[in-house]
C-alpha cells in the first residue's frame, strides 16, 4: 500500500521569505500523480500544484514550485515571496495512475504560519 509522510507538523516563515515543505512517499508503482493541497481555516481544500511522475521537469505555479525526486520518492513544495494569505495547512497527496478508482492518499499535513 502507498503511504505519504510529511515530517514537519508545523513550519513558520517570515513574510516575503522562502519556505520549503517536505513530503516523502512510498510506492512500488512507476506511474502516479503527486499533489499539494492548501487548506485554510475555511476548510476548503485548494489545489496548489500537481506533478505527473512521468514528467522529469518540476511543476511550477507562480510563487509555488516543487522539487520532485522520483528515485528518492521525495516531493517538496517551495513557496517563494511568502504572503500572509499563504498561512494554512498544506497536504501532500498521492494518486495511482493505474486502476479505475483514483482516490487520493494524504499525508498528515504541515501547518504553515506566516509572520508579518
Amino acid at each position: 500500500a502507498q503511504t505519504v509522510t510529511q515530517s514537519q507538523p508545523e513550519m513558520s516563515v517570515q513574510e516575503a521569505e522562502t519556505v520549503t515543505l517536505s513530503c516523502t512517499y512510498d510506492t512500488s508503482e512507476s506511474d502516479y500523480y503527486l499533489f499539494w493541497y492548501k487548506q485554510p481555516p475555511s476548510r476548503q481544500m485548494i489545489l496548489v500544484i500537481r506533478q505527473e511522475a512521468y514528467k522529469q521537469q518540476n511543476a511550477t505555479e507562480n510563487r509555488f514550485s516543487v522539487n520532485f525526486q522520483k528515485a528518492a520518492k521525495s516531493f517538496s513544495l517551495k513557496i517563494s515571496d511568502s504572503q500572509l494569505g499563504d498561512a494554512a495547512m498544506y497536504f501532500c497527496a498521492y494518486r495511482s495512475a493505474w486502476g479505475s478508482q483514483g482516490n487520493l492518499i494524504f499525508g498528515k499535513g504541515t501547518k504553515l504560519s506566516v509572520k508579518p
Binding site: Y33, F35, Y37, S42, R43, Q44, M45, I46, L47, R50, F91, R95, S96, A97, W98, G99, S100, Q101, G102, N103, L104, I105, F106, G107, K108, G109
Partner: protein, 114 residues
C-alpha cells in the same frame, strides 16, 4: 463556474441518531469521492462513485456508513446510529475523470456527535 457544494456546513447530532450529508459536484464531473478528516486519523478515503456504476465502498469504516448518488450527480452520505468517533469533517470531491484529472473539493460538513 460553480464549484463543489456541500450541505449542511455544520451538523450537531446526538449519539444514536442518523445523519445525511449532501454533496453537489461540479457539473459534468463523472467521478465523486467522499473523504473524512479527523484529528486522529487525518484524511481518509471513504467511497468513490464513477457515473452510474456501482460505488467502490472499500474505505467505509463500518456498515453504519452508506452513500448513494442519484442520476450520476448529487450524492448523499448517510451515517446511521452515529457514534462520538464519527465526529469529523466530511469532504466531498469531484473530478472530470477518475484517474487522470484533478479532484476539486467542497467546503466540507463538520459533524459533531454529542
Amino acid at each position: 463556474g460553480a464549484g463543489v457544494s456541500q450541505s449542511p456546513s455544520n451538523k450537531v447530532t446526538e449519539k444514536g441518531k442518523d445523519v445525511e450529508l449532501r454533496c453537489d459536484p461540479i457539473s459534468g464531473h463523472t467521478a465523486l469521492y467522499w473523504y473524512r478528516q479527523s484529528l486522529g486519523q487525518g484524511l481518509e478515503f471513504l467511497i468513490y462513485f464513477q457515473g452510474n456504476s456501482a460505488p467502490d465502498k472499500s474505505g467505509l469504516p463500518s456498515d453504519r456508513f452508506s452513500a448513494e448518488r442519484t442520476g450520476g450527480s448529487v450524492s448523499t452520505l448517510t451515517i446511521q446510529r452515529t457514534q462520538q468517533e464519527d465526529s469529523a469533517v466530511y469532504l466531498c470531491a469531484s473530478s472530470l475523470r477518475p484517474t487522470t484529472d484533478t479532484q476539486y473539493f467542497g467546503p466540507g460538513t463538520r459533524l459533531t456527535v454529542l
